[in-house]
């Protein structure tokens, strides 16, 4: 598995795709093992401290008044939606838009990729290299470059569909392609799509029904992984939103933190919540891979 594959690899591991990481832990002699354990904890500990410092700083900052006293005011505002709306309406708006973007983009990406990739495997396998190249292209074309060329496209969209923030979803789907493609590709490779879909077709199944009833249920882990990576991307995206003059969570957060009229403490609190939330979701997902063992028949 290449390094790039790892970076955009499915988050939810299907046990059928078990990699070397599911192997037995190493067996070294006891003394060496103990020494290595100590060294391991020291090294990891040092790195952990560096990593935690900024987060600790966020906690500290969000609860500290200029004179050094502690205040929970920012946190009270964060928790209470009305107060939050009053204090930072753009943030709440941005948050809503981002949640909508996450869901719509995840859905649209799966809707676009799963039928296409299935169709390719069934009918036009010679096109798969081209599609793979196109799906991985966004890794080579940074968002900042892409957005330079998107100006005219989005002017056209503004004419047809208006200037709503939700139309960012079209670009986000493209940005999500490399991650979603790899995940879904791994999932499709693990099942014999051709035989299953041919069996379904002889029983009278139309192509859309094959996707819904046969393919999707069998690549559930891969699709979840793809959606998850897409959501992670949407949650943190700033570049395109800012340069297309749209509002989303990161843009609103940016303005909140750095504009003169913004509230830095509130920004700190919100940032921390988002990071912790993201961590919990990721952590939860790492347990998901082991739900159903799918052994191949003999």
């Amino acid at each position: 598995m290449s390094a790039l594959d790892a970076a955009i690899a499915p988050v939810v591991t299907d046990p059928a795709l078990a990699t070397a990481s599911e192997r037995q832990p190493r067996k070294l002699r006891a003394a060496a093992r103990r020494k290595q354990t100590i060294v391991r904890w020291i090294v990891l500990g040092l790195v952990a401290i560096f990593m935690i410092l900024p987060l600790a700083g966020l906690i500290d900052f969000s609860t500290r008044l200029l004179n050094g006293k502690r205040t929970g005011r920012s946190w009270a505002t964060v928790i209470d939606l009305d107060k939050l709306n009053a204090a930072a309406p753009d943030l709440v708006e941005g948050f809503k838009v981002t949640i909508a973007l996450c869901l719509v983009t995840a859905g649209l990406t799966v809707l676009l990729l799963v039928p296409t990739m299935t169709w390719i495997r069934l009918r036009v396998p010679h096109v798969s290299k081209l599609v793979e190249f196109l799906c991985l292209l966004p890794l080579t074309i940074p968002a900042i470059v892409l957005v330079v060329g998107l100006g005219p496209i989005y002017r056209g969209i503004a004419h047809l569909l208006g200037t709503g923030n939700i139309w960012l979803t079209f670009v986000y789907v493209i940005l999500a392609f490399p991650y979603a493609y790899r995940s879904i590709d791994a999932g499709l490779a693990a099942i014999d799509v051709k035989t299953l879909s041919e069996a379904a077709r002889t029983l009278g199944c139309s192509f859309p029904a094959v996707i819904m009833r046969i393919v999707l249920p069998n690549i559930r882990a891969a699709v979840l992984g793809a959606m998850f990576l897409t959501i992670a991307l949407c949650l943190g995206e700033y570049t395109v939103a800012y340069l297309l003059s749209k509002n989303n969570l990161s843009v609103a957060l940016f303005n909140l933190g750095l504009s003169a009229s913004g509230d830095p403490r509130l920004t700190a609190a919100v940032s921390l919540i988002l990071l912790v939330f993201g961590f919990l979701v990721m952590f939860g997902f790492s347990f998901l891979g082991n739900t159903r063992r799918m052994k191949k028949g003999k």
Binding site: I191, D192, T195, L196, E198, A199, A200, R201, T202, L203, G204, C205, S206, A209, R213, I214, P217, N218, M294, K295, K296, G297, K298
Partner: protein, 380 residues
């Protein structure tokens, strides 16, 4: 409807007593499809330089089981897939029950198909797999369950209805696949090397069951295989294919005993190639005179294709004019034996004889070679 179960155990229910009908409504539900006629007319299909089908034609009578047999690359699977609609022919027609269905998509052709392996939907139980086609046809849940369970019973797996594919053996999976294909009461049943991925013993059992079920249900069936023993065992007619065409199609015993070409003779069963002289419809080989099948040269030096069971080696030479050979090796195969013996020009002949006759011979012994008077095919 009697549940079909084999006396030999392959893991399916052995606690079943033949003769007991599991459900009074079984016959009504399962029914029998009045078979339909199928015609493949002049099919042609190429992939680039490879010509998979070269004007292949086939007529199947209602309720008949035709087995397409041939080496890999002969086009048998392509022909099946064209009939199923999974591939399009470049030319030719597919006619079922008198209607040209060449441009009808697969999902509308109403044909049940059993694939070589891994075709059960892994996310569904056996019961759900079997009722899948029924679901697509809009049958209610209670009816689906009943029909599915009846067909599972037909293949002897009603107690496995809640199992998933990975919990079943290969043989069991193929039985479920068969039940699934039959449950929609298709016009035609298609079997694409359904036994090739199974163990030898399971293969033999299952092929007999498939035949029994097919006779019971009466669906016109096309069965593709590369195993000639399998083909002979189950077919109403066997079509031997080569290079995209059917070389000969006949009843199994005719294919075996009266092959029309050397290829068919060589592909089916074993043959000994023996030099001899032909004249007037007979060929003289190693002292025996044997009738020739049509298609053989009528005179001159020929190679006769003689089956092992037509050869007999007897010890002790007597001056009866028969050719002689030296025994090289004997093998005991359970129900019969085989003996290899070398003749004067160095060719090694293989004879199939009874156990008693085989055991009586020793390597190195000189034996007479007798050839039974059944007709043989010869080539120039």
């Amino acid at each position: 409807m009697q549940p079909i179960s084999s006396a030999v155990d392959d893991g399916t229910d052995s606690a079943r007593t033949p003769g007991i009908s599991a459900s009074t409504g079984a016959s009504a539900v399962l029914g029998t499809s009045a078979g339909v006629g199928v015609e493949l007319r002049g099919l042609r299909r190429s992939y680039g330089d490879v010509h998979a089908l070269e004007g292949m034609s086939l007529n199947m009578a209602p309720g008949e089981m035709v087995v397409l047999l041939g080496p890999s690359g002969c086009g048998k699977t392509t022909a099946l897939r064209v009939l199923a609609g999974l591939e399009d022919a470049d030319a030719g027609q597919v006619i079922v029950a008198g209607k040209d269905i060449s441009s009808v998509p697969t999902s509308k052709r109403d044909m049940g198909m059993v694939f070589q392996a891994y075709s059960l939907f892994p996310h569904m139980t056996a019961r759900d797999n079997v009722s899948f086609g029924l679901r697509l046809r809009g049958k209610g849940a209670a009816e689906r369950k009943k029909i599915a369970e009846n067909y599972l019973e037909l293949v002897g797996l009603d107690h496995h209805a809640d199992r998933y594919a990975h919990q079943m053996s290969g043989g069991q999976q193929q039985r479920v696949a068969l039940a699934r294909a039959l449950a929609i009461q298709p016009q035609v049943l298609l079997l694409d090397e359904p036994l090739s991925a199974l163990d030898a013993k399971v293969r033999v059992q299952l092929r007999d069951e498939i035949r029994r079920i097919q006779l019971e249900v009466g669906t016109t069936t096309l069965f593709v295989t590369h195993d000639q023993e399998e083909a002979l065992a189950v077919a109403d007619r066997v079509g031997v294919m080569r290079a995209g065409k059917i070389e000969q199609i006949d009843k199994p015993d005719v294919i075996y005993s009266a092959p029309k070409t050397a290829f068919v003779a060589g592909f089916i069963g074993l043959t000994n190639k023996m030099r001899g002289t032909a004249s007037g419809g007979m060929v003289s080989v190693l002292g025996s005179t044997v009738p020739l099948l049509p298609g053989s040269p009528t005179s001159g030096s020929v190679t006769a294709l003689v089956r092992p069971e037509a050869l007999r080696f007897t010890s002790g030479t007597s001056s009866n004019g028969l050719g002689t050979a030296t025994v090289v090796a004997t093998s005991f195969l359970g129900a019969h034996g085989r003996v290899q013996a070398r003749i004067e020009d160095g060719t090694i002949l293989l004879a199939q004889m009874s156990v008693g006759e085989t055991v009586a011979l020793q390597p190195g012994e000189i034996v007479d070679v007798a050839i039974a008077p059944s007709p043989v095919l010869a080539t120039a």
